[in-house]
C-alpha cells in the first residue's frame, strides 16, 4: 500500500471538510429521501418497497398540474429575468466607467442586504388592498375603490424576477466585460447593423454567461418557497408548497420525498436540456 505523504496528504486534509459537507449534508439526505419515497407504510414501524407515492403523483391532477405550472412559470421567470438583466449588464460592463460602474453594481447587490422575507413583506406593503400603490391609484383617481394587487400570477412573477436579478446580472457582466469593444466595431465595419452585431457577435460571445445565469436563476426559482407563498397566497400552487404540505401538514413523508425527488429530476432535466440547446457544457458555464 502506498503511504500518504506530503502534498497528497495535504490535499486530502484540505478536501476533507468539502467531502464531508457534500456527503453528510447533500448526498446522504438525498439517498434517504429517495429511500423514503420508495416505501409504503404497512403498519406501525413496518414498511415495504412500493411506488405508490409516485403513482399518487401521476393519478392526482392537482399534483402534476402544479408541477407543470411551477416548471412553466420558472422558465418564464428565467426568460424575463434574462431580457431585463441583459441591458443592465451591458450598461454596467460596457457603458458605465470607473466610479459609476461600481455604484451600479452595488445597487444590484444592495437589496440582498435585507432578508428575503423582509423584502417580500415590503412588496406586500406596497401591493396589498390597503397598500401604498392601491391608495395612490385611488388618490389620483385611476380607480374608484381599493384594488388587490397581491395573490395573482403576475405579482408572483414580478417577485421572482426581482429576487433573481442579481444572479443573472453578475455572470452576464463578467462575460460581457471580456468582450473586446473592437469586436462589436468590427461587426459594424463589415456591414452589420445593431441587430446583427447583437445576434451574431454579442450573444454568442456572452452565451456561457447567459447559460450560467439561466441555470442559477431557474434552479433558485423552481425551489423558491417564500416568494410564491407570500405573494401568491393560497392560489399560487407552487410545487415547493406541495412538498411542505406533505411533510408538515399531512405528515406524509413518503409522498413529500417522492415530490422532492421529482423536483430534483425536473431541474436536472431542464438544465441538461438548456445546455444541449445552447450547445454549452456545464464546466464552461457554471464551472467558470
Amino acid at each position: 500500500m502506498r503511504t500518504l505523504t506530503g502534498k497528497r496528504l495535504a490535499l486530502f486534509l484540505l478536501l476533507t471538510p468539502l467531502l464531508l459537507y457534500l456527503f453528510l449534508l447533500i448526498l446522504l439526505p438525498h439517498l434517504e429521501i429517495l429511500n423514503i419515497s420508495l416505501r409504503e407504510r404497512v403498519s406501525y414501524g413496518v414498511y415495504k418497497f412500493s411506488l405508490a407515492s409516485y403513482q399518487e403523483f401521476f393519478s392526482e391532477p392537482l399534483y402534476w398540474l402544479t408541477f407543470l405550472r411551477t416548471a412553466v412559470m420558472s422558465v418564464l421567470t428565467t426568460g424575463i429575468t434574462l431580457v431585463i438583466a441583459f441591458p443592465v449588464a451591458w450598461y454596467i460592463a460596457k457603458v458605465a466607467r470607473g466610479r459609476s460602474k461600481s455604484v451600479l453594481f452595488l445597487a444590484c447587490l444592495i437589496p440582498f442586504w435585507v432578508s428575503e422575507l423582509v423584502r417580500t413583506y415590503g412588496w406586500m406593503i406596497l401591493l396589498r388592498e390597503t397598500g401604498i400603490v392601491s391608495n395612490l391609484l385611488q388618490f389620483i383617481g385611476v380607480v374608484d375603490g381599493p384594488v388587490e394587487l397581491l395573490y395573482n400570477d403576475v405579482t408572483v412573477m414580478v417577485g421572482l424576477v426581482y429576487t433573481s436579478m442579481l444572479f443573472m446580472v453578475v455572470p452576464l457582466v463578467s462575460t460581457l466585460e471580456g468582450l473586446d469593444d473592437s469586436m462589436v466595431e468590427a461587426a459594424y465595419d463589415l456591414g452589420g447593423n445593431g441587430w446583427n452585431a447583437l445576434k451574431e457577435v454579442v450573444i454568442p460571445y456572452a452565451m456561457p454567461g447567459i447559460v450560467s445565469g439561466c441555470i442559477v436563476v431557474f434552479m433558485l426559482t423552481l425551489g423558491n418557497y417564500l416568494t410564491p407563498t407570500l405573494l401568491g397566497g393560497k392560489d399560487s400552487l407552487w410545487f415547493t408548497e406541495q412538498i411542505f404540505t406533505q411533510f408538515i401538514t399531512r405528515f406524509n413523508w413518503e409522498q413529500g420525498s417522492a415530490f422532492g425527488i421529482l423536483l430534483l429530476t425536473l431541474s436536472s432535466l431542464m438544465v441538461w436540456l438548456g445546455l444541449k440547446l445552447s450547445r454549452q457544457s456545464f464546466s464552461e458555464t457554471v464551472g467558470r
Binding site: A186, Y188, L190, G191, G192, N196, Y205
Partner: protein, 371 residues
Amino acid sequence: MTSEIDLSCRNINKTFDDFIAVRDVSFEIPRGSFFSILGPSGCGKTTLLRMLAGFLEPSSGDITIKGRSMLGIPPNKRPVNMVFQHLALFPMMTVAENIAYGLRRRKEKPAEIKRKVADALERVGLPGVGDRAISQLSGGQKQRIAIARCLVLEPDVLLLDEPLGALDLKLREHMKVELKKLQQAFGTTFIYITHDQSEAMVMSDNVAVMNSGRFEQVGSPQDLYYNPSTAFVAGFVGESNRFSGTVVSRAGNIVEVKTECGQHLHASERVDLNLASGQKVELFVRPEMIHLSREPQQSTDNSMTGQVENILFDGGNSRLLIRETSSGSEIQVVHPQTSEFSDINKGDTLFLSWKADQSHVFLDTNERGEA
C-alpha cells in the same frame, strides 16, 4: 498604378471638448497605393483612422472616397474595412464563418459565399483552414485571416490599425513583407497607421508623418529619410545625432552653427527657412552619414576628433559611441564591419567628418520627438 484618387481628405479637424486631436489634415491617396500614417502615440493617427472608418465624425472638413462624400455615412455603409489592432476576429466562429460574416450581411448566395471564402483563403496563402477555430491559429495566421475577412468584401480602401504590434520581432519582420505582397496582389488601397517607422518605410509607397494632430510631411520613404522638411521628421524618421545651437553666420545656403557644447558645424539649409544669425536651431546628422577614419581628414565642412567610448554591436547595424575630445559631446556613428574598422577598441582615437549637405538644420521647436 493609375493616378485616379481613391480617397481624399480636405481640411479635416477633430476636437474633443477643448482638446484638438486632428488639425487641418488634407491628403489624397491614389488608387492601389500603400499609404502609411506614422507618428508617436497620442499624435491623433488613430482618431484620423477612425474618422475614415466612420466610427467618428470629423468636426469640420470632408472625406471623399471615389468622389463620394462620406460625411454622415455609418461604418457599415462605407466602402472601407478595417483591420483592428487586436484583429477582433470573432472567437465563437470558425475561420470560414469569420470571413463569410460580411458576405452574409450582403445577403449573397450560400454557394457564392462558399466560393469567395475558399478563394480568399487561397489568396492569403491559408487554403483549407476554413473549419478551424480562431484559437487554433498562430499569430501570423490570425493576421492573414483578419485581412482576408476584409478583403473578401472588396473594399475601396483597407484601413490597418497597427495590426503587427502584438507580434514578436521575427514574425513582424516577416509579416511586413507579407503585407506588402498581399497589397500588391489584391491591388487594394491600404492605409496603415503605425508608430514603428521601419514598418512604414518598408511597406509604403507614401508616408505621412503625423505629430500633435498635424501632418508634418507627406512623401515617399526615401524623401522623408533624406529630405526631412521639419525638425520633427528629421528626429523621428530614422536615427539622428541631434545638436542644439545658434546660427553664427551663413554663406549662400551653408549655415554655420555654434552648438551648446561650443563646436562649430556647417549644414546646408535645405528648406527655405531664411535662418539668420542668432537664431536657435537644431542640427541633425545621421549615424551612417559620418565618415570615419584613423587619419586626420583635410578640408571637409565638418570634422571632429573623438575617442571610442562604447561599441554597440548589432551585426550589420552596429554603432560606435564616440566622445568628442574638445567638447565632450557624444556622437553615434555607424560601425562599418570592414577589415579597416573591425579591430576598433574602446578608447581608440578616430577622426569624424561629413559634408554640409549631409546634415540638416531646422529652427528649434519645442516639440521634441525622440526616434
